[in-house]
Amino acid sequence: MSDSEIKLQPYFCNCQLLVKVARRNLTNLGLGDTGTIVEVVNHELTPRLIEMGFFPGKQVRTLFKAPFGGPVAFDLLGSIVSLRIDEAKLIIIEK
């Protein structure tokens, strides 16, 4: 194995990210259920999610889901924000 291949390794297996996503995230929250955000997984979209109001400590309730695996709308106590499934998966919660 050459040097460059070894350096590339961390990018191919972002194990930390995989472990975090496997935890309970916003998509595991049933319709009408409320959870509290614990963490937002570090990702390109994280700053924007935080700015939209998905920051740790905030209570979130799942309001409704679009058909066919479309976006999900959340009640952020003050506003309704919809996220795509991929975006919602970045948000780790506890019930």
């Binding site: 937002v40 570090n42 390109e44 979209l45 994280t46 700053p47 924007r48 999610l49 935080i50 700015e51 939209m52 109001g53 920051f55 740790p56 400590g57 309001l63 409704f64 679009a66 058909p67 066919f68 695996g69 479309g70 976006p71 709308a73 009640d75 952020l76 106590l77 003050g78 506003s79 309704i80 924000v81 919809s82 996220l83 795509r84 975006e87």
Partner: protein
Amino acid sequence: MIIRKIALVGNPNTGKTSIFNLLTGLRQQVGNFSGVTVDKRWGTTSLKDGNKIEVLDLPGTYSIYPRSQDERVVFEVLTNPNHKEFPDLFVVIADGSNLRRNLLLFTQLYDMELPVILVLTMQDMVGSIVNEIDVKALSSSLNNVPVLWVNGRTGNGIAELKRAIFNFVQVEFKPILSNSIPASLDGDGIKQTEDSQKRFARINEILKSAEHPTSQIEIPSITKKLDNMLVHPFWGYFIFGSVLFVIFQIIFRISAYPMDWIEGTFVHLSYLIKSSLPIGPFTDLLAEGVLPGIGGVVVFIPQIALLFFLLAILEETGYMSRVVFIMDKLVRPFGLNGKSVVPLISSTACAIPGIMATRNISSWKDRLVTIMVAPLMSCSARIPVYTLLISLVVPDKQLLGFVDQKGLVLFLLYALGLVAALVVAAILKGFIRTKEKGFLMMEMPAYRAPRWSAIGINLVEKVKVFIVDAGKVILAISIILWATASYGPATRTESALAEVRQKQVSNPLPEKEFQSRLDAVKLENSYIGIVGKTIEPIIKPLGYDWKIGIAIITSFAAREVFVGSMSTIYSVGKDEQDIDRLKVTLSKEVNYETGEKVYTLASGTSLMIFYAFAMQCMATFAVVKRETNSWKWPLIQMFYMGAMAYFGAWLTFLIMS
């Protein structure tokens, strides 16, 4: 401190534009920020001393860190005191019913040591729920920055806002979040996340003293009830379909009247000019080049205005975001965004308002893909072309005993437009590269009654932008087309015309037919006619002759011009009843070389396919140029659509014959 210029900043959906409208009234202008296609609105307002100050409405943004073109503009203004848009004072508009999130942007601005005033909106919503905000307490915990309520609907508080601007004095700066320089964090996501989290913690502390302790924001019950219906897996789509049905009924039923009237008026004006001014090239330029060019711009206004009026209602009431919500997943595979759906569907009426409506798509890539495929949707200008060709070549027959074959072909052409748009979008997705990451993350505002004045102002703006920006290009192309269609090499035209006149002496035709004959010969020997003849070898494989070639070139102005050009070339008049005569003439037309019929099922369908794909519309070209702020994209669009049209028509002709 003398204030000459203020800028409004705030999150989207905070009523920022209402406040801008209240401040400036109709004294406002709209354009682009230099170099980008981001709406720039500015106007003036007068303060109590009668002095006028400039008001700039910056695009809505959740924080100073940009994630789209619109937000990049805000960032550039905020961080550069030498920017030509940099104001003397920033008025931050914050939604009082969602203060925590809205204060993030405010604290960032404050910590950049910018002069700020904080305006809270949506008091009506806050008041109905137990969330009272003590503005005095808030102001004192924000280091005495002026804080006040303004009602964007009634205008309550506008006078106080003007007074606060007039009396503004920047107080001593004490950072809200110490050791933080927000502007330096652009591009560093991890530090931004950290900074924003700290800010939210600080905001919580600040609000403790200013907010009613038991405050709890509930979604209005009417919004909950409506959402149960409007995003329902069945009723949601059913209602959206019905809304579209009503919109199209209104557009096609109503806009036909003013459009016919405008067309009639311009024909009449041309006639007036021709009959009252001395005969000569200047009169011709005016009557046949300039006036039809202006007419070609004005005729779109009813459709644009009506469509934008209806779309603005969807937007204002909050319904549009629900459409985006239920459609997003369905169009993702094609590289489109939920926000592309309404612009694309609007394009089945006319691509121009459709393309103009893509401004709501915040992701540049998604917006560009939508713009590039919108003209493939079957617009109303194709109808006259399709109707003529279908009645000419498609036999009258019922399929399975009840399906009218002609109607079926028309339906298939519409379906083809939709399929082509989706397929091309899916392909383009791979070609257009941007640094931006596509995302949805969309706020869904509570339902509310539309603000009619805002709709009115928006409507006037859209129409103005179209006339001023697209109008120039349309007028220029129209004059070029006129000049090349009316003039040819002098000797060639003259000798051809002389021949017709000579024949008239030996074998006289009725006056009207003689005039039509002259027009036909003139067009045939004009520069456009010569080009049409020269391209015959190129279009021969598609089943066309040079006459069709001329009609194709002239109808770059607009698709429906095809019918008029055909009438001229075949020297039948242009009145309504003459369409039937045109059909008879066309059905008898035989190829001068082979002696075979020109308009067969094969060549007719080939021509329909050509018009389904080709970008034959100078107004669309002009609008795409305006909306992408470059010649590159409209040219690419014209080229790819032209290639699709050519090869599509060629294949069709091969298969059908």
